[in-house]
């Protein structure tokens, strides 16, 4: 084997991913070429240095409520792509198909209906056929899921087609409003989402918290919102509502959000 073709394969040689006959020819060259031997040894040292990053506990810095933060941002609508984003892929495929254009008007009407109602439904159109598992692609619209986290989705008439799932244990809302220490993250996430969607309902909820507990609960919720990056958006949403109760609560969120992260 020539020097150049050996040198080119040294990484794969070190990884043991080459066919045996290639390795044998490389062994023969390596036995006679100190340059390739040095290069191989240095590559191996480099690979070992990189490997030391794999063994260190990289995930140690991940906050324990990372998942709750993500869910709070999703509840707040941050993962909603809008019409184009949500339908973009199907739309393009569909338009490229032969059934697409004739059905355009009907599909557009149906899409509009869905968005105006703002409810979770599954849209099935023959032209959207792209997935092998079903004849037509299902498009779940989860934007309007506003059921409380402790209420089974089956309780909602709109959710007839959704699978009923066992809910994980979580403290009752009243306990969290009184300031229960743990497990209230899901309630916080839900309240943040509620505030984004229905500021007035949210403010009424705040009002309903017993006086003694309100400030502490609001503190906790604000910290949660600040931590998940939703506090300032939520505050703005509340102010927009024009509700007379909004100012005090919004200010609370803004003040907490001004505290630097961790």
């Amino acid at each position: 084997m020539r020097h150049a073709s050996c040198a080119r394969r040294l990484s794969q040689y070190a990884d043991g991913t080459l066919p045996q006959e290639v390795c044998i020819r490389m062994d023969a060259h390596l036995a006679t070429c100190p340059e390739c031997r040095t290069e191989l040894s240095q590559l191996r040292s480099t690979i070992d240095l990189l490997g030391s990053l794999a063994s260190s506990s990289a995930s140690a810095g991940l906050p324990t409520d990372f998942g709750e933060q993500v869910m709070a941002r999703i509840s707040a609508g941050e993962a909603d792509p809008g019409v184009i984003g949500r339908f973009g892929d199907q739309w393009r495929r569909w338009m490229e198909s032969s059934v697409g254009p004739p059905l355009l008007t009907a599909a557009f009407g149906l899409t509009l209906l869905v968005l105006v109602q703002g409810v979770e439904v599954e849209v099935s159109l023959p032209g959207f056929a792209s997935s092998a598992s079903a004849g037509a692609t299902s498009i779940p619209l989860e934007t309007a899921v506003s059921s409380r986290p402790d209420v089974s989705p089956a309780a909602s008439p709109l959710a007839a087609r959704r699978r009923i799932v066992a809910l994980p244990a979580m403290p009752p809302l009243a306990a969290c409003l009184r300031g229960a220490e743990s497990g209230c993250g899901r309630w916080h996430a839900w309240h943040v989402g509620l505030g984004m969607r229905e500021p007035r309902v949210f403010l009424r909820e705040v009002e309903n918290v017993p006086d003694r507990a309100r400030e502490r609960w609001l503190d906790e919720l604000s910290r949660f919102a600040a931590h998940s990056g939703t506090a300032s958006v939520l505050a703005a949403r509340l102010r927009e509502s024009g509700d007379p109760r909004a100012h005090g609560v919004a200010t609370h969120f803004e003040q907490v959000a001004a505290i630097p992260r961790r």
Binding site: R37, V70, P153
Partner: protein, 221 residues
């Protein structure tokens, strides 16, 4: 025998497996999520958050940025999850979303960030590091070396950094990396090689010039 200056973690080779050979353990949760169960999505987040964070930390070099990019990853997953097709493994798809989050982050941070990185490097660079480490885990020197390797990794262009992180740190197979990065398998192999060669130069003081005396045996090992 060639004695590597650092012992390679055995877990690395253990989990480098062919991507599609068993039932994807995530499919059940994905089905439930697509049926509208948001708790199934949260369970997916919890199952994968550590690995996604680890990958992003290696790609971006800062915990805070990795955490932000990890959040972006799962928000994007929620947004674009319908693009996932069963021919691929879910974890491969997720790696792809995470890698895109890392690359987008890099791009949007732009020059300001690059300037700050350069400042940090200037301040921490030039410090004398032990050239013969005994092992990565057992000493403070190990931590310093890891920091240094991470820093030099940051200096590679993303196109070279991504495949070498996925192969040498995350332990993915060539084929899976090709899928994550949407490039040919041959490209993955050559980029890994180029990345290692570039790193070898950057880490010159940590990589001995001469191999050990019993070179030939090492070669055959």
């Amino acid at each position: 025998m060639t004695q590597p200056i650092l012992n390679r973690p055995s877990s690395l080779t253990a989990h480098r497996v062919a991507p599609v050979e068993s039932v994807d353990p995530d499919l059940e949760l994905i089905d439930r999520w697509r049926d509208g169960d948001s708790q199934a999505f949260e369970a997916l987040v919890r199952r994968h958050e550590r690995r996604v964070f680890g990958l992003l930390l290696r790609m971006l070099g800062s915990r805070e940025e990795a955490e932000d990019a990890a959040q972006d990853t799962f928000l994007n997953l929620h947004r674009h999850g319908h693009r996932f097709r069963r021919e691929a493994r879910f974890s491969t798809f997720l790696y792809r979303v995470a890698m895109n989050a890392a690359l987008n982050r890099r791009r949007s941070l732009g020059r300001r960030r690059a300037h700050m990185d350069a400042l940090v490097r200037e301040q921490s660079g030039g410090s004398a590091l032990p050239s013969v480490p005994r092992g990565p885990e057992d000493s403070a020197a190990g931590g310093e070396i890891r920091d240094r390797v991470q820093q030099e990794l940051q200096g590679l262009p993303p196109a070279l950094r991504a495949p070498v992180v996925l192969f040498d740190i995350e332990g993915l197979a060539y084929a899976e990396i090709a899928e994550v990065l949407q490039v040919a398998e041959g490209t993955v192999k050559s980029r890994i090689h180029r990345a290692r060669k570039a790193l070898k130069e950057r880490l010159r003081d940590l990589v001995p010039d001469e191999g050990p005396a019993e070179e030939k045996e090492g070669v055959l090992a």
